[in-house]
Symmetry: C2
Subunit: 388 residues, 2 copies
């Protein structure tokens, strides 16, 4: 069953994938057909172009993620004919996406023009929707309409790359930048190297002249994964079963020579991460941004006391919250610039069409929930909604 | 059997507790009776007043500590009559102690005067001896002869407090200072709170207005330990069996109110330290300086990612190596000032007399090794050599 609400005749007809209670995404998500009033004051209205389904989005709907967007009745137009029983407070799913500005509120004209492309400046805004009204300060430009008219900036980056820009590449960018000053010839080491963040790390490190030691899992097909990472610019590859061995320590030493392994990026946890931490140089810094193994980080005291290895976490949502929209814009500009220099590879994903003019809400809902189902199962790869 | 060496008639007759191979301290340590030539150039000669036996000293002799002082034949005077077979290269045990300057080399007079009291500016100098020659830059003043003639500075600190100043109180001082800016009303939490460092933390935090949450072991006599820590200025006490319980979390919350637990000091490791880390406030920093449980540090990824808890190690020997003698002097001055303000409690220890004019070397050796034996066994408390 789909929810429905209607609005005034100036309003935009829109669809959104929403939930009113936490639970299994395929069970609690519904398409809400609704109308959007024109943006007021310093807000803009956007039409989404593409929005990915990320693991954190799923955890958020399950209610197990620390960021919980407030549920509101704001999506229902005041003139809605449905009764309040049919209008439960909802949150729109999704945290990441790229959109085009379609209407500009009276005080937002100095920031955005119709036609500008934007990404989300913070988490919890809800990106699984055809259209939405957002405060200008919550959005960050990725292409200006002027530049696009001149032939386009970021012209070698497609809509999927832009839609998946604000989580993985921005996490990689900040981790490379905020903990140590990296110079050409320095090394970083990372596990989960073929994750979205891992691939972004490789591609952002390359134009900096920073060398990468990349740990992947030794399972069938790992040679192809290694080839792909090398094609992105990975300097060295290790499989997880090589960790903890004396010859691996010697191998890394031969790669690093007089350089330093200044940073380690960890999205795995458990014993293999301990072994990765041992490969850091003196004064190295291990940054944890995930825990795929669901195991904690285990650090020998000697590594911390005598080798002065530090351990910190990184969460982009917290960074975004603590920094201004100008700082976020600067980050996006620089990531885009690095992406262009690194010639970022195409994002491997399945495109799931979201017909924004679709009249058949239940057919749309069926298609969107199919994409959610694939995103929560394994073996289907990354799923992205593409709004057309 | 004791080793012996003799020198010129200007030389000072000295004894030192030395080892020529790594092993069990009571088996490898010997008294070396020897002579010291007058100090040359920018060196001074000192007579030790008191030198403690620390756990790291024992580990060093066992060969399991990362700092290994080089073994040399420097202690044997050139005129030694013994054959080279009887003069194996040796290192003098001990890393901490207080000494009085007895002779000043030609270029050291602008730094030290005869009668000044000094402590060691770095590790590995060998403090278990009656006399020694040291470079001026390796020593730090704790009392000047001028001030002593005026009635004494640091006059409320006794020789044992000064002898045990450079390891525990200096570690506590740096950990309180180097990781977060602490203001009155801020909290720190620590385990092993009745260790030498733990007690120093309490006493150095007090004059800063910094409140301390102190974790001790729940074993017979823990009430007396708690009373002692409270008499030193401890704000709150927890026993380790309270860790990980919901009511303890609530209790700490009620203590801290709107304050912040900015720092945690860990000398234990393992699961109890994980539970202590959970009591840190957002952005808190856990400093590991020991691992009494011989367990590693275990940190949940969520604590690092979402709560932004950092983990670092601290090792005073590395700090001393990386900082100038002026910076070490400043630290000692400030620690002494804080100690006086906090009215540091007497150090609980057993004083083991080291007769510096003793002619009976084997009797001396017996007494010194008895102290070493007590220091390596449990239940005898802290052992200090007092040279008289």
């Amino acid at each position: 069953m789909s929810l429905a609400a209607t609005g005034s005749k100036d309003a935009t007809r829109a669809t959104a994938l929403v939930y009113s209670t936490y639970g299994r995404p395929t069970e609690v998500l519904k398409v809400l057909k609704h109308t959007l009033e024109p943006p007021t004051e310093d807000s803009v209205q956007v039409q989404f172009l593409a929005s990915p389904i990320n693991p954190a989005d799923i955890n958020q709907i399950e209610g197990v993620y620390p960021l919980k967007p407030p549920m509101t009745t704001g999506l229902y137009a005041s003139s809605a004919s449905t009764s309040s029983d049919e209008r439960p407070p909802v949150a729109v799913g999704g945290n990441e996406g790229v959109a085009v500005v379609t209407k500009v509120g009276p005080k937002a004209g100095h920031v955005f023009k119709v036609g500008d492309w934007v990404v989300m400046g913070s988490a919890g805004l809800g990106t699984w929707r055809s259209h939405g009204n957002f405060r200008a300060k919550d959005l960050t430009k990725v292409r200006t309409v002027e530049k696009m008219n001149e032939g386009g900036d970021s012209s070698d980056l497609d809509v999927i790359q832009l839609a998946t820009l604000t989580v993985n590449p921005c996490t990689a960018y900040r981790m490379l930048r905020d903990f140590r000053t990296l110079s050409p010839g320095d090394f970083i080491i990372q596990n989960g190297a073929n994750s979205g963040v891992g691939e972004a790390v490789i591609q952002l490190a390359k134009p900096l002249g920073v060398k990468t030691i990349n740990i992947i899992r030794n399972r069938p097909g790992h040679e192809e994964v290694a080839e792909r990472l090398k094609s992105l610019g990975a300097t060295h590859i290790l499989t997880d079963d090589q960790l903890g061995k004396l010859e691996t320590k010697e191998l890394v030493k031969s790669w690093v020579q007089k350089g330093e392994v200044k940073l380690g990026f960890n999205c795995v946890g458990g014993k293999p991460t301990t072994e990765m931490a041992r490969l850091l140089s003196k004064n190295g810094h291990l940054i944890t941004y995930g825990a795929m193994s669901r195991q904690p980080l285990i650090l020998p005291a000697s590594l911390q006391i005598f080798k002065n290895v530090h351990a910190s976490g990184f969460w982009l949502s917290a960074w975004n919250e603590q920094h201004s929209s100008e700082e976020r814009q600067e980050m996006i500009d620089r990531v885009l610039e690095s992406m262009k220099q690194g010639q970022f590879a195409e994002v491997n994903c399945t495109r799931n069409q979201w017909s924004i003019v679709s009249a058949d809400v239940s057919a749309l809902e069926g298609r969107l929930l199919e994409a959610i189902k694939k995103a929560t199962a394994s073996g289907f790869g990354k799923q992205v909604f593409v709004m057309e």
